[in-house]
């Protein structure tokens, strides 16, 4: 255990301090920040474009009521029509509304570079209608009682319970779809990245005498376990950091009124999404990573020489790509519960992609998920045990030739 710790810590710290890991860690965060920044800029420019401003001249009572309702859209500094015309010409306002009253009739004239904003228009017409009604009533000599009767409006009742339910269902469905895609992409990209790190690390020692020196000090199985454990810990570190960054970002953004209302309105979507990610599904992702790392170590040790280190993970990368495309098709075709998907969701590595999809879509229950997970864990234990016993043979074998020829040659040296 002591030597395992030495190998583990040395490799873990070496990876952790490496420039490539720091780049790997911060690149997605920077990408998200840049995307968010672009989003804010676009939103800002859109807001500027949407900053609709009109002037209201003429009847002061209409103007004051309209200002009270559409303060953001009314430029109150403009008092006269001539000023309004000048400002419109300079493009400082989008138009002006002239309200006048002639012969007991309200007249509204809008002059602008584009049509009057629908909200402003609705409010303006409501105000003017009200005032015109008052004049009409006054001129008709009707009593207050008669006026009240004339003012009776139809009753309108709105029940939004079903809509809320539908909204919730829609949000849950969107969250499920989003979480499936997010899980698939996380699985795919991180599996590829960590498989490459692992195989390259192992392959770099292949064909050099470092392995001979190492094996004169520590058993191959301990050394292998330490190296694999270090890369798994590195990956776990990255996951923990991202989770921490996510939580901190959530609380910081939640202090902003805009995001606070967004989080509140999308509460169902967010909680379902987070629930889908941080459940048994994340265990599948983690186990998938571990399987990939172990298989990548095998690929690395079967590299023909140190020059082939960068290509050593290719067989595994192709396999992961195949599983990813297969899973993608199952999701897009809505066939996540087909017989192929069902069988695949119990095969280690395939299960890391397929079982989360089936669980999120309620095609499989938790019990089935646990069975699949246990199969994957058993697979890892079996492969790690078996491989750590032949690791030395693979690392010290200098046979060149095809992938399978190298395996055969290494095992023949037993």
């Amino acid at each position: 255990m002591h030597k395992f710790n030495i190998v583990f810590m040395r490799n873990y710290l070496l990876h952790l301090k490496s420039k490539s890991f720091i780049a790997l860690l911060i690149t997605p965060i920077i990408s998200v920040l840049i995307s968010a920044g672009i989003g804010v800029l676009v939103a800002g420019s859109t807001n500027n474009f949407d900053n609709y401003q009109v002037a209201v001249v003429g009847d002061s009572s209409v103007k004051s009521e309209l200002v009270s309702k559409d303060k953001d859209s009314i430029d109150t500094s403009i008092k006269s029509e001539s000023t309004a015309k000048k400002e419109l010409k300079k493009d400082n306002i989008d138009g002006y509304i002239k309200v006048s009253k002639e012969n007991n009739q309200y007249k509204v004239n809008f002059v602008g570079s584009s049509s009057l904003d629908s909200d402003v228009k609705t409010d303006l017409l409501a105000i003017v209608n009200q005032k015109q009604s008052e004049i009409n009533v006054k001129n008709s000599n009707v009593t207050n009682e008669q006026y009240k009767q004339l003012s009776v409006k139809p009753a309108f009742k709105s029940s939004i319970t079903d809509k809320e339910k539908k909204q919730k269902t829609d949000q849950t469905s969107s969250a499920n779809t989003a979480s499936i895609y997010v899980l698939m992409f996380i699985s795919y990209f991180f599996t590829i990245i960590y498989a490459s790190i692992m195989s390259t690390t192992i392959a770099k020692e292949k064909g050099t005498k470092i392995s001979e020196v190492i094996f004169s000090s520590v058993s191959p199985s301990t050394y292998f376990s330490g190296k694999v454990g270090a890369v798994i810990a590195l990956m776990a570190t990255q996951m923990v950091i991202y989770t921490g960054v996510g939580v901190v970002a959530y609380f910081i953004l939640n202090m902003d009124p805009f995001f606070n209302s967004l989080f509140t309105s999308q509460h169902v979507l967010i909680s379902t999404f987070v629930g889908n990610i941080f459940s048994i599904n994340i265990l599948f992702i983690f186990i998938g990573f571990v399987i990939s790392i172990v298989l990548a170590a095998i690929c690395g040790s079967l590299s023909a020489n140190v020059e082939g280190a960068s290509k050593s993970a290719q067989p595994l990368v192709f396999l992961i790509l195949f599983i990813f495309v297969l899973s993608f098709n199952f999701v897009n075709n809505g066939s996540s519960d087909s017989i192929f998907s069902q069988v695949g969701s119990y095969i280690p590595l395939f299960s890391s992609f397929l079982m989360p999809i089936r669980l999120i879509n309620h095609n499989a229950n938790l019990f089935e998920g646990i069975i699949s997970l246990l199969i994957a864990i058993f697979f890892i234990a079996f492969v790690t045990y078996k491989f750590s016993n032949v690791y030395k043979l693979f690392m010290l074998n200098s046979e060149e030739g095809s992938f399978f020829k190298r395996i055969k040659s290494a095992l023949n040296n037993k």
């Binding site: 030495i6 005498k209 020196v213």
Partner: protein
């Protein structure tokens, strides 16, 4: 155990200190124990570089020295050295020889492979020569040399090559210049007669009858291999 392979076997991205510490820790030494000794070892081997320098920044010769330190610093009881002098200039080779002898004096058993028989003759107590995986020579340096008889005579004399070659038992005469010759006898028993013939009962500057050197034996065995 300390093992030094012929090829470089260091992690180039590690610093000198972390490389030495890592290997020593794998050999069971405590990190602090190693750190206390690193500087004295670096000085002893005259390594050009600081402990925080990366291995890849060192010259090949200095990398070789760091590798030697990795092999020896944990004070192993068994040391295996595979061509330890390759890549070292004569000055550094002498430093290594001193360290090998020091390690031996501290009680370690050293298995040392080399094609340079001068180094073998200088350092080894016991020699095994392998050919195609089979032992062809086995014994102490003296035993092995004496197996081949004291057929070589190094002599300084006024006699000419032809005069020497005409003497009984002389199979070959090599002129080494300045009246110095290397004579090969067909049998070591001819040595006494040769001494009498060359000295004629008077003072003689040089007369040394020796067995063949390990280098010559190696060549002889290698020729036999190729024959």
């Amino acid at each position: 155990m300390g093992y030094l392979p012929e090829e470089r076997s260091l992690f180039e991205d590690l610093t000198i200190e972390s490389q030495i510490t890592y290997f020593a820790e794998l050999k069971g030494r405590d990190k602090n124990w190693v750190k206390e000794r690193i500087n004295s070892w670096l000085q002893r081997f005259e390594v050009k570089g600081e402990t925080k320098d990366k291995i890849k920044s060192l010259s090949k010769g200095n990398q070789q020295k760091v590798q030697l330190i990795c092999t020896l610093i944990h004070e192993p009881k068994l040391v295996i050295l595979d061509e330890p002098f390759s890549g070292l200039d004569p000055v550094n080779a002498d430093l290594l020889k001193k360290e090998i002898i020091r390690t031996k004096e501290n009680g370690a058993a050293i298995i040392f492979s080399s094609h340079d028989m001068n180094n073998v003759e200088e350092l080894c107590d016991h020699v095994v020569m392998l050919r195609n995986g089979n032992v062809v020579l086995n014994g102490s340096v003296d035993e092995i040399r004496n197996q081949f008889g004291k057929k070589h005579v190094f002599v300084t004399t006024d006699m000419s090559v032809n005069e020497l070659a005409a003497l009984d038992g002389v199979s070959e005469v090599v002129d080494r210049g300045h009246n110095r010759y290397k004579i090969t006898l067909s049998d070591e028993e001819y040595g006494k007669a040769l001494f009498k013939a060359v000295s004629r009962g008077e003072y003689i500057e040089e007369f040394s009858q020796q067995p063949p050197t390990l280098d010559e034996i190696f060549r002889e065995k290698a020729v036999a291999k190729h024959a």
